[in-house]
Symmetry: C2
Subunit: 402 residues, 2 copies
DNA sequence: GTATTTCGTCATGGCCGTTGACAAATTAGT
DNA sequence: ACTAATTTGTCAACGGCCATGACGAAATAC
């Protein structure tokens, strides 16, 4: 009674419109007939859907395209590069970043500011971010783009309402409602953990080829100051009952080992966290001394650095073998700023995984492949923007102009 | 062209029929109006759906029911206790079991045979099981029930096709196609890991109350000879990319500890597996000497037994804290034959979890609750039967008679 | 140049949920 | 006891949406 009963028919139409959009987003230019074959509707039905999307300005027609096969060539359909777009933002420990992505997935506007956000006042940071978003939106408007949604990547735990930062120790924020403090003219605001968005960027990126049978599953490891991970299982991000899933950094690696700030003992973070690794390499952690410095030393062949990374890799491998035994993912992806350490990190990780999962997981002959994400540190920002784009494609009704 | 294009309209109808059935399965007797309110359709639409299901013999009307509120009382609808039913079977290490469940979820026929299946010939065991299924189906027919599907619980890894047992070390089976070797007159045959079915039984059982906001997430621990677990995340069972998810027994607990049969070191199984615990308690593992014997000693206050269980609980707690940090479940459930050890197992498990996850998981004040499943060793069999029932309810088209 | 194949469109039809109204059955109030 | 109010289940009319089948259009194959 309260709400006017969701009309199952309209829902079906919306879903089919959305399926056309997603099919074109995934498969490049396609003809109506190809779309129909892909989503299992008839050509006639797809025609009406496409007409509606063309009139709404979400699709454009390219002239007849392919030849090489018999029959009349189809008119190629493409998502527009004008009109609605997604906006992504990233609040890092030492930078702010913003980018605007059109429906095709191309980044059209991008800006980064180096700032020091550790222990900062949320209001100040969010004001600065708001300014960046404002100028980015203006530049987008110059390209004929209008923002349809904003997604913000933060290095911390986000409540399941996707609006409030519960705990971001590296920023010093607790219980900050970002959605309320950011511009309202960019559409719905979604806040998400940066590791999660990095994993989604990996899942949705063009280089990522899903396995033959259905959606992918992988563990995506990243490291800002702590060690985080994101779990993509059957093509879906696992957020956890409270939104805390993926705390790889606190998997016990040596149960009675070093005490950890979390109150436990022997957590992965105390062996492979940034601070621990830097110390092991003989570097004094501090502002400016981050993983980048370690990477340089490794590239230079510094023995202490190499040894420290190897030890961290071993610890990471032990924790990951737990995750692999538990989740049976198709692969493990090293992303974020850790990706740059991959040349030295992957061998020990792979070694531990091979030791500890080969037979356990049912005698599979080849252990889980471990790869480094080519997106590297760009993952969270790109993932945020694409998250906004996909959210827009999910609701065509709100996008159709006129 | 090959297949006649799935008609999206029929699919909608099927889904709505199924939603009516599931609503009644979950919510006991309801009126048409109540069903309509529950699934968000109009009363008129639900009326046509219900008529179809009544004519098909899947529902029955009870006389007008509730009073106590104003207005005309609705005629109560109920799933039939005749007609289609689900069949569950369990192949254990030392028993075979079969049960028949009607659409309401009531067990109507049940049979257990003690047999020794360790290292057995699959053909012999499956022949015996086939005989039990045959007599169970006959008894079901006497009650007016006709089997609509069979689900088999096995203590081993099952391929993602849900038909083939890849590896069941306790039975000594490898690559056995069960679906092909069982009676074909019981409907579609599904094979599933017993731990997974135990977890689903827990998820679907009447005593299980889902959290206010959406579906539940939990880790369900069980132990046949090895230590297995099943992961229910957001109301869905996680099977893993190869069907091997939940191998809790091979999480590293002491990375350089005891060598494990899997080739790794310090796996949970080497500390908390049945054989390890029995030895630690001073019992010689062997046929007939199983966890039951240990339970008796604990009940009798045997110090060695109590100490062994406590140590196992500590190891289990360490492994589980890894799982909890990674997955952020709403609770941990101890099921299967382990449930009987719960009085002695839960304290050390809870202690380790409290130490190692309290702050890590974002400062939540109360650690994850750990409970014992009241279903105990019945879980897998009941889960199998209910799995078959739910599969039937998912496809009303195949159930409607005449 | 004709046959074949494929594409996109059109008119028709069927299915299905909604809308709005109505009779039936019960409770609340006088 | 009688009326008003409320809720239930049903019916007829309506509208939306996809399927069907046929058609012209545009390319290739022989």
């Amino acid at each position: 009674m309260a709400q006017p009963a969701p009309k199952a028919q309209h829902e079906m139409r919306q879903r089919n419109l959305s399926r056309v959009l997603h099919t074109l987003a995934a498969g490049g230019p396609l003809s109506r007939a190809a779309v129909a074959a892909e989503i299992g509707l008839t050509r006639a039905a797809v025609s009406t859907l496409v007409d509606e999307l063309l009139r709404g300005g979400l699709l454009v027609e390219q002239g007849p395209g392919r030849s090489g096969s018999v029959g009349r060539p189809g008119t190629q359909l493409l998502l527009t590069d004008r009109g609605p777009c997604g906006v992504g933002a990233e609040i890092g420990v030492d930078h702010l970043a913003v980018c605007v992505m059109d429906l095709r997935g191309d980044v059209r506007v991008r800006a980064v500011h180096a700032t020091r956000n550790q222990g900062s006042d949320p209001a100040v940071v969010l004001h600065a971010l708001g300014g960046m978003l404002h100028t980015a939106a203006e530049r987008a408007a110059g390209l004929g783009l209008r923002p349809a949604g904003l997604t913000v990547a933060v290095p911390g735990l986000v409540a399941r309402d996707s609006a409030t930062v519960l705990r971001a120790p590296n920023l010093g924020w607790h219980g900050t409602d970002l959605a309320a403090a950011l511009p309202t003219d960019l559409g719905r605001v979604t806040v998400e953990n940066e590791a999660n968005l990095g994993a989604l960027a990996e899942l949705w990126s063009a280089h990522h080829v899903p396995p033959e049978g259905g959606p992918d599953s992988f563990v995506h490891v990243s490291a800002e100051i702590g060690i985080g991970s994101a779990l993509v299982l059957d093509g879906e991000l696992l957020r956890g009952a409270h939104g805390f899933a993926g705390e790889l950094g606190h998997l016990p690696v040596r149960p009675e080992g070093r005490p950890c700030s979390c109150g436990g003992r022997g957590c992965l973070e105390t062996y492979a966290g940034e601070e621990a690794v830097l110390r092991a390499a003989g570097l004094e952690p501090g502002p400016g001394v981050r993983l980048g410095a370690l990477t340089e030393r490794c590239e230079a062949g510094d023995r202490d650095a190499l040894r420290a990374v190897k030890q961290a890799g071993t610890a990471l491998g032990i924790a990951l073998s737990g995750a692999v035994n538990l989740l049976d993912p198709r692969q493990v992806v090293i992303g974020g700023s850790l990706a740059r350490l991959a040349p030295w990190l992957l061998p020990p990780v792979g070694r531990e995984l091979a030791r500890r999962t080969a037979v356990a997981a049912g005698g599979r002959s080849t252990p889980v492949p471990v790869t480094a994400s080519p997106l590297g540190p760009d993952g969270p920002l790109l993932g945020a923007a694409r998250f906004a784009v996909r959210a827009a494609l999910d609701e065509p009704a709100g996008l159709l102009r006129s």
